[in-house]
Symmetry: C2
Subunit: 73 residues, 2 copies
């Protein structure tokens, strides 16, 4: 399901920019390594649901809102 990671990463990147975070500021706020943030956003890693919640908490959005619809994959 490489498409899933790609679509999820795209959604996270879009929301991060919407909220005005640079990758550096986002790394600091989430406590996730900056290079790992890059890998998430490029869909190179398959994150855990827990990590999704940590990201959503910083982005002040519901975790579910970051998930691509199954039907679009």
């Amino acid at each position: 399901m490489e498409e899933l990671a790609t679509a999820l990463g795209r959604n996270i990147r879009q929301k991060r920019k919407e909220k005005g975070f640079s990758q550096d500021a986002f790394a600091l706020a989430t406590g996730i390594d900056r290079s790992y943030i890059g890998r998430i956003e490029r869909g190179e890693v398959n994150i855990t649901v827990e990590k999704l919640y940590e990201i959503a908490a910083v982005l002040q959005c519901e975790p579910a809102s970051l998930l691509p619809a199954q039907t679009t994959l």
Copy 2:
């Protein structure tokens, strides 16, 4: 975030029963080991987003619908 895994596991178990799957049948359909299904449903493991999609596909529901709201955790 132990509460997250617990709440997510509860939602998965509820939907599995709703759809009429025994744990055995669900294990067979998802290709996930039966004992691991038990651990997921008891909130003992932190699954990946990809695994969530595999589970939702078998349960014929949107992955997002299985996620507990952040505000309820």
